[in-house]
């Protein structure tokens, strides 16, 4: 049934690309077909353990296939392009830590790219093909590890199955954590590390060594793969230690989470100190902004973020989305106290159960943070971690209810409906951010495949070689950096902004000076950004207030005189994308 649901989803995405209105209805039908049979079977008692696990693995892979169907021929998310460049660097230089202009921090957390490079080097696959496989394998590891972790804690495959299913409902699981980016591999490794640590802590006598080595090895792998996941994992171990310490007298050989947590902290500090110093700047920026927003909100100098602002294109029906998302949140909030009570009643002797409960109970705080302008980013990024707790806490409710046998099917149906509503609501909030795929629009998160951008980028690479200084806007800049292997001049890396190119008409002396001071050799323009269809949707809210979209006429006129400027050669024209060689003016050859 999951595969049948995928066919519907493939049809929905095709219809979306062809601008057929029923695409959204087809998408939701496909998601229900994909999820409902699995949910019914997993939640049912007296289902075999292997069957439950097999269903969950198939569901996990099927949900991953949704992302693959979303972008079946190219990586299109900006994050994916950034990590693509790191893989390219390794393939060319055969060494790590090469400069990545479109995400410098990616180069110093190379776990994902190491595995991808190994697969490419040994099999000859392309980066796209290898990347899909690596993330797919990570997905399998995540589902298996989560099920086995929950099962060991609860001693119930039913609780484990429900918990794993609910974890898959987290809004990042469908798309964001299925993309070719470091968090997508770090999360499965982190869950595996938790599982190994738990086994290590509970085993006595010989045989612990394997789990101990795996736990420390997993922690090390996470440290070099993703910064935030390593911080969260170390924090989980320290929280575990805290619960352990307040419950028992400290006995050194029982403090397994402590040693892993300390190892993790030392490893994180050492990695940042000696390899990944740019992670401090990279991570502190959104955090600082969020703190400033909070202070501003308290003092009344900043306004709260408006919820439910449309930001993607071709989004599903907005009222329906809102209903689903709110229903899911309400169900989770309502279920958490009951689940926490059940955990306390039945599993309080298991310290990891208490840790997961504590994590799940952070969820309401993340909702409040969403009111901060920068809070949305921070709150949404916590979802994959918070849902480790939410999944477990909600999963223990139904199997531990005392239900008369004649009413069992009613309770099971209600619980299944609740799980489905949570799933669909969380998917709605994830899909709402990006919308269904379309043919190219600016903002790669809804891009289906920008073949023109890929071709233009590779043309520059094939004609002029790599590492030329290129200026372009948004998607094309990332494509030039990834597919084109160029030295893209980006705001994050170079602190140079080319925004005024498009907000004022003409290419005047100030813009020429900016090109010269930035030593730009190629200036690429994507004229699809001029589409009036796009511009109204680009307005959004930032911490400084609403962003005004640049009117199409102003955008078009911004570079209207460039073809008349002596010395600037229009070397490439593919209709929408035009590349100029400005080296004669800037001195870059």
């Amino acid at each position: 049934m999951s595969a049948y649901g995928l066919l519907w989803i493939a049809a929905a995405f095709t219809a979306s690309r062809a601008n057929i209105p029923v695409s959204q209805a087809i998408f939701w039908v496909g998601m229900i077909l994909l999820l409902l049979p699995a949910a019914i079977r997993v939640i049912k008692p007296n289902v075999g353990r292997s069957e439950r696990l097999a269903i969950l693995m198939i569901t996990g892979v099927a949900l991953y296939m949704v992302k693959v169907l979303y972008s079946p021929i190219l990586f299109t998310y900006l994050d994916e392009l950034q990590h693509w460049r790191t893989v390219q660097n390794i393939l060319i230089s055969h060494h790590l830590y090469g400069f990545n202009p479109i995400l410098t921090v990616s180069a110093v957390y190379p776990g994902l790219e190491i595995v991808t490079d190994a697969l490419i080097s040994l099999t000859g696959l392309t980066i796209f093909q290898a990347g899909l496989i690596v993330i797919g394998v990570g997905r399998l590891v995540a589902v298996l590890a989560l099920f086995l972790l929950f099962e060991r804690i609860s001693t119930s495959s039913q609780v484990a199955g429900i918990g794993t299913l609910l974890y898959m409902a987290n809004p990042h699981f469908l798309l964001f954590d299925a993309q070719f980016a470091y968090e997508s591999l770090a999360l499965p490794l982190a869950v595996l590390t938790l599982y190994c640590a738990m086994r290590y802590a509970r085993l006595r006598g010989k045989g612990k060594l394997g789990f101990g080595l795996s736990a420390f090895g997993g922690m090390a792998a996470v440290i070099v793969t993703h910064h935030i996941t390593s911080f969260v994992l170390a924090s989980i171990f320290l929280l575990w230690t805290f619960i352990l310490l307040i419950k028992i007298r400290p006995i050194l050989n029982r403090l397994v989470p402590t040693w892993i947590g300390i190892f993790g902290l030392i490893g994180i500090m050492a990695w940042i100190t000696f390899v990944a110093t740019q992670a401090i700047t990279y991570l502190s920026s959104p955090l600082t902004s969020a703190i400033n927003d909070l202070i501003g909100l308290i003092l009344g100098t900043r306004s709260a973020r408006h919820l439910f602002v449309q930001t993607g294109v071709n989004q599903p029906d907005f009222l329906l989305l809102r209903f689903l998302a709110i229903s899911a949140v309400v169900l989770i909030l309502a279920g958490l106290p009951f689940g926490a009570l059940k955990v306390w009643q039945k599993y309080r002797n298991n310290n990891l159960a208490l840790v997961l409960t504590a994590i799940g109970l952070i969820y309401p705080v993340t909702l409040v943070v969403r009111y901060l302008p920068w809070g949305l980013i921070i709150s949404s990024r916590t979802a994959p971690y918070i849902f480790l707790g939410i999944g477990f806490v909600l999963a223990v409710i139904y199997p531990n209810l005392r239900i008369p046998e004649r009413n069992e099917w009613k309770y099971r149906s209600a619980f299944t409906a609740a799980v489905m509503l949570i799933f669909l609501g969380m998917i709605a909030s994830g899909v709402a951010a990006w919308g269904l795929p379309v043919t190219y629009q600016q903002n790669s998160y809804t891009n289906s495949a920008d073949l023109q951008g890929e071709f233009a980028s590779q043309w520059v690479l094939n004609t002029f070689g790599p590492y030329r200084r290129v200026a372009a806007e948004q998607d094309l800049l990332w494509e030039m950096g990834a597919y084109g292997l160029q030295r893209s001049i980006t705001p994050d890396t170079d602190r140079i902004w080319f925004d005024n190119f498009y907000s004022t008409p003409g290419l005047g002396p100030d813009k020429l000076q900016l090109l010269k001071s930035s030593k730009i050799q190629f200036l690429s323009i994507d004229q699809r950004n001029n589409s009036p269809l796009l511009l109204p949707k680009q307005a959004g809210t930032t911490s400084t207030g609403p962003v005004q979209a640049v009117p199409a006429s102003q955008y078009i006129s911004a570079l209207s005189n460039i073809d008349q400027i002596r010395g600037i050669s229009r070397i490439y024209d593919s209709g929408d994308i035009v590349t100029y060689d400005v080296g004669a003016l800037t001195g870059e050859k």
């Binding site: 040994l122 229009r570 024209d573």
Partner: protein, 256 residues
């Protein structure tokens, strides 16, 4: 009587096959994928699980998890170590490193198992059932069908385009330009190209029929063209729309 060492022997053979393949340079993509991918994702972890875990500690599912997970960990850590070597991360170093880890672990695991005279080897449920096999096969076919459908329609619905470019052939020949056209319009298109400077036509290509996915290029000599006459301009037309310039590229000759 089942050979209780069969699984580890298969692991050893596969690791050796991977090593051999890496050095023979066989190009068959399928063969490389099926032999090499397990070396990255499964074999090291499987061998190591049999070395460091007892058969009672892991059931079938746990062994799969640990095999996959430990293989990922081993690959990542191996990559960090290989980075410190002059060879770095490339085919030969990867194949030697991963195959060596797998072989050493498998051999020691094999010896350990013989010594311990393990009574059983862990295995998944090994009864073959027809219905699950049919269902799984159907699911795989449907999934593959969904993927190829999405891929095909994405290709056809993606914006088609034609690209035109103009660049010097190389630094040593600044008076020779290369002009090129690539057709990505999903159908054969007939183009016309005119190259001119200062109002004077340098080259005309009255008919360039080009299939979709193909590229045409030619060289144009611009000796005698100076910046005073403006840039060299290449105008591309579609023969089905002969009066409208479809693409334009320009090149400013170097100043004397």
């Amino acid at each position: 009587m089942k050979n209780k060492l069969l699984d580890l022997m298969i692991v050893i053979v596969l690791a050796l096959a991977a090593l051999l393949l890496a050095f023979t340079g066989l190009q068959s993509a399928l063969v490389r994928l099926f032999v090499m991918a397990p070396l990255v994702f499964f074999l090291p972890g499987y061998a190591l699980t049999h070395l460091v875990f007892t058969s009672e500690q892991l059931d079938g599912w746990e062994r799969i998890l640990m095999s996959l997970g430990i293989s990922l960990m081993v690959t990542i850590i191996t990559g960090i170590i290989l980075n410190q070597t002059p060879a770095g991360l490339q085919t030969t170093s990867w194949s030697i490193a991963l195959a060596s880890i797998t072989l050493i672990a498998a051999v020691f695991a094999l010896l350990k198992r013989r010594v311990m005279q393990a009574k059983k080897t862990p295995h998944l449920e090994n009864r073959f059932r027809v219905m699950p096999a049919i269902l799984i096969t159907s699911a795989v076919i449907l999934t593959a069908g969904a993927y190829f459908f999405a891929r095909t329609t994405t290709n056809s619905l993606s914006h088609s385009f034609t690209s035109l470019w103009i660049t010097p052939v190389d630094k040593n020949q600044p008076n020779v330009l290369q002009v090129g056209v690539t057709n990505m319009e999903n159908s054969t298109v007939n183009y016309r190209l005119t190259v001119q400077a200062g109002g004077k036509v340098l080259e005309q290509f009255p008919s360039i029929p080009l299939q979709s996915g193909k590229t045409w290029n030619s060289q144009v000599n611009i000796s005698g063209v100076t910046t005073a006459s403006g840039p060299v301009t290449a105008d591309l037309y579609r023969l089905d729309s002969p009066s409208k310039i479809y693409r334009t590229a320009t090149w400013w000759p170097a100043s004397p």
